[in-house]
């Protein structure tokens, strides 16, 4: 009997919270012991920085520490909103995000649909294995490849010069930054991104196809009336979740590819935070920008999660 060490004749729900907690701690003491390092980890390395974000409201000086630095309220936020950078960063972040979405979101879906139509399982698995590969190559190597291929004597540059493009280092031209970024992103992730859709496709009831075939529907009609409608719930969920990270362009690739010549189009919020904070030591200012970004991201993610929960309830029969 579990609660035999507590008052015998009192029903469980009449015990106070504190008493129940004490009993639980005693009964599950090994489990609680086990999880202490985990909780400590989250408190130190995840909640610590959340507390530390308070320096966005102060002017942090390393010598004075977090508590000793003077309070300035929303000054850094105002500076940021009124600065020249603000609109440029928002514009760049959204441009890169939306372009990646428009071209990068449908690509894995199309690939999954086409792989699904292949008749040879062996060929299909080979295609999958090969197209997943770039996902595992490190960002440094991917960007190294991009730098090599797009410099003035690079393969891609030479190839495109046959179509009239000038033979100069492509990564110095701000107008070429977004296409390079998005295209290489698709190259790297289209294979891996198709996994989820392929998984969803294998979950479609084969009997639906049988019935359609008997009714005389050809492959195209089957795709249109069975495959795509069955895929729509997955697509919607993933799309909505993707919308939630609209302002969340990761900085690793940007930092590896950008340079002062391309800041105008390449600098995004996260790369700006890195540069201002770690390279230029404007601790509080960049912490403010980072906090702004985190809050917006959080709001977007919560909203899109909520929408996704609402819509999947109505779209799942």
């Amino acid at each position: 009997m579990e609660l035999s060490t507590v008052k015998q004749n009192v029903p469980v729900k009449d015990l106070t919270f504190g008493q129940r907690l004490a009993a639980d701690l005693k009964r599950n003491k090994e489990l609680y012991l086990m999880v202490i390092p985990v909780i400590a980890f989250y408190i130190i390395f995840h909640y610590g920085p959340i507390y530390g974000a308070v320096i966005a409201f102060k002017t942090y000086a390393p010598a004075k520490g977090v508590l000793g630095s003077p309070w300035v309220g929303f000054k850094h936020f105002q500076d940021f909103f009124q600065s020249y950078y603000f609109w440029r960063l928002i514009r760049n972040t959204l441009t890169i995000s939306v372009t990646s979405l428009v071209f990068g979101f449908p690509a894995p879906i199309i690939l999954a649909l086409m792989i699904n139509e292949l008749r040879s399982k062996y060929f299909s698995r080979t295609v999958q294995t090969i197209t997943y590969m770039p996902h595992f190559v490190s960002m440094v190597v991917i960007c190294g490849m991009i730098v090599q291929f797009t410099k003035d004597t690079g393969v891609v540059t030479t190839f495109l010069s046959f179509f009239g493009m000038a033979k100069e280092t492509m990564l110095n031209d701000p107008n070429k930054f977004v296409p390079i970024y998005v295209t290489s992103g698709i190259w790297q992730e289209v294979g891996w991104g198709s996994i989820i859709y392929l998984a969803a496709l294998t979950g479609i009831d084969q009997e639906l196809y049988e019935a359609a075939r008997i009714d005389g529907a050809g492959r195209w009609k089957q795709t249109l009336y069975i495959t795509i409608p069955c895929l729509v719930p997955t697509i919607i969920i993933l799309f909505i979740l993707r919308m939630g990270s609209m302002l969340n362009v990761g900085f690793e690739k940007i930092i590896l590819l950008y340079n002062p010549a391309t800041y105008e189009k390449a600098d995004v919020i996260s790369s700006f935070v890195y540069r201002k904070g770690i390279q230029e030591f404007s601790w509080s200012f960049s912490a403010a920008v980072g906090l702004f970004n985190s809050v917006i991201n959080f709001a977007l993610v919560m909203t899109s999660n909520w929408i996704s929960r609402k819509t999947s309830e109505t779209s799942l029969f």
Binding site: L21, E30, M34, E117, Q148, A199, R213, A287
Partner: protein, 293 residues
């Protein structure tokens, strides 16, 4: 009854196969180009323009230069230490957390779960994290690359699902035999959830192998630099000087090109070699994660 394919369907099949071949070629060609370039004679490669269909001339000079570079050797060593140490810590912490979260009749379970999941959606930002690591004096040590990332919440959720799938009867009968939770976890649960555990080893391992940013902001001693950071110097910042000491200026310029390709090959080959064998485990992880998430 055989339903014959229409003419249109047959054309589509051929087109599809062609499309797939094209997609595979597009995926592979950049990597093949790099391989060919790394095996080419430096002088001949410099003079060549356009696509490569094979190495130009054949020369291992670039690879020789790569392996003579002490930074590459130390980079490899550091990365191996980081991967082994990092994954060990990752798995240990992830198992502890996942097991706790999977036990249903623990009062604080919901609260702690919420507290952990919240961190997936909101964090303090780069600057506060950076200042924290410095305040803890972890900076300029390899610990800065291992400890702050000890648990990946998403991975822990995957592990939690695996533990939760073990029937309660196993835990019950073990308790009857007098086992405490530690024994249950390490002697029963872990062996039963081993496949999922291996998936996490792979995920954490690849993440450590490929990581460079934390090393860049926290490390100042070159002897601690992991491989990817050394790579970054060479192939992105164009700094091959450390590798070509002793050659004439012209030679330097020519071999520095093919060296970059050789260095990419050397850094990526381990992952690409292991990859075909482990691919299905990676894919399984995505499925489990997707279904749960």
């Amino acid at each position: 009854m055989e339903i014959k394919q229409s003419y249109g369907e047959r054309i589509f099949n051929y087109f599809n196969i062609l499309f797939m071949l094209f997609a595979m070629m597009l995926t592979l060609y950049p990597m093949l180009y790099i391989l060919f370039a790394s095996l080419s004679k430096p002088n001949d490669f410099m003079m060549h323009e356009g696509l490569l269909y094979g190495p130009i001339g054949f020369s291992l000079a670039s690879f020789r230069a790569v392996f003579k570079n002490p930074n590459i050797i130390s980079g490899y060593g550091n990365t191996i230490i980081i991967v082994v140490g990092g994954v060990a810590l990752n798995i240990f912490m992830t198992i502890l957390g996942a097991y706790f979260l999977s036990r249903k009749n623990v009062m604080l379970n919901k609260v702690i779960t919420l507290m952990i999941i919240f961190t997936m959606y909101f964090h303090g930002g780069l600057i506060p994290s950076y200042l924290l690591v410095k305040a803890l004096h972890l900076d300029n040590t390899l610990l800065a690359l291992i400890v702050p990332g000890a648990i990946n919440t998403f991975n822990m959720i995957i592990m939690r699902t695996a533990f939760a799938a073990v029937p309660d009867s196993m835990e019950e009968s073990a308790k009857l035999d007098g086992a405490n939770q530690f024994v249950i976890l390490f002697r029963i649960m872990v062996p039963l959830a081993l496949p999922t555990l291996m998936v996490l080893v792979l995920y954490y391992g690849v993440a450590h192998w490929n990581s460079w940013f934390n090393a860049m902001i926290y490390l100042r001693k070159r002897t601690l630099f992991p491989l990817q950071l050394i790579l970054r110097e060479i192939i992105i910042q164009n700094d091959t000087n450390s590798m070509t000491t002793g050659s004439s200026a012209d030679d330097k310029e020519m071999i520095s090109e093919t060296i970059k390709y050789a260095v990419i090959v050397v850094a990526t080959l381990p992952i690409l070699c292991l990859y075909p064998f482990l691919q299905k485990y990676f894919v399984k992880g995505v499925m489990v994660g997707a279904v749960k998430g």
